[in-house]
Symmetry: C2
Subunit: 160 residues, 2 copies
């Protein structure tokens, strides 16, 4: 594959690639979010699991991994932390003893009303000054990027 000088120098421009921009956006997001959730004892990683569990409880760890979009070992580690923090309890499934079902504690359920507004704030701040159409376009294009890269990859958003 041949790339001319112009193409090369374009991509040398550090701050102009989608890869760079998504990294910085993700980073800024995580920091901004954690700044709001940490005072409530919830890390950014735990937040991602909570969000899924607030929608549906009693999932297996595998299913949870799939929904959060993380690998199983990551889930195991995160859940250990969440169990220690009193956010979840894990229960062995009686029908299929391989499975572990994850349930939220009342404490974690109660945090929902507190934490959701935090994320709303961060999301609003992130898109401040954009029109609704721009926000929709950003989401659409980001989702496309995810799809394109997931196709060739295997791991990713590919659940639909």
């Amino acid at each position: 594959m041949a790339y001319n000088e112009k193409t090369l120098s374009y991509y040398e421009e550090t701050r102009n690639s989608i890869g760079y921009l998504t990294r910085i956006a993700f980073r800024s997001f995580s920091h901004a979010l954690e700044k709001l959730t940490l005072p409530h004892g919830v890390t950014a990683g735990q937040w991602r699991f909570l969000r899924v569990l607030w929608i549906e409880d009693g999932l297996t760890q595998r299913e949870l991994s799939r929904r959060v979009v993380m690998r199983e070992p990551t889930t195991v580690t995160a859940l250990q932390g969440m169990e220690k923090a009193g956010l979840i309890r894990r229960e062995q499934c009686s029908e299929d003893r391989r499975r572990t079902l994850v349930y939220l504690t009342p404490k974690a359920k109660g945090l929902k009303a507190t934490l959701i507004p935090c994320v709303i704030d961060v999301n609003l701040r992130a898109t401040q000054g954009m029109t609704d159409a721009e926000i929709e376009q950003l989401k659409t294009l980001l989702a496309k990027v995810c799809d394109r890269l997931a196709e060739s990859d295997g791991g990713g958003t590919g659940e639909a």
Copy 2:
């Protein structure tokens, strides 16, 4: 501040937040990129430092951190790995002995021609099927998100 039920349920939708989408986009990007660079012995983390050093050599670690957009301790760890991998050498600055200057080895310089096309590929794949205008818009909007979240944060892209 008050959020109505509609707003709340909207943000409950896991896959519809900018935060989620940037995370998945970043993740997909890193995986896709590393799949191409790892065969050449370069991790995704090292790649980010290489890209900056290819543009300018002999930077202090602090300046390097600033340009890569990472904290100093992250840089220290990454550079230790890169030194071990024979990608850089570090030299104490004679005028100001606090400073350590980072130089690329010939090996690392040689990798540029090999690795840049890898990233071009990933970036092209990520934006496949988008018009140039859409790509530009995506970059513009992502950059806006970074700016908005950096303002309130402190750490981030805030170099301008």
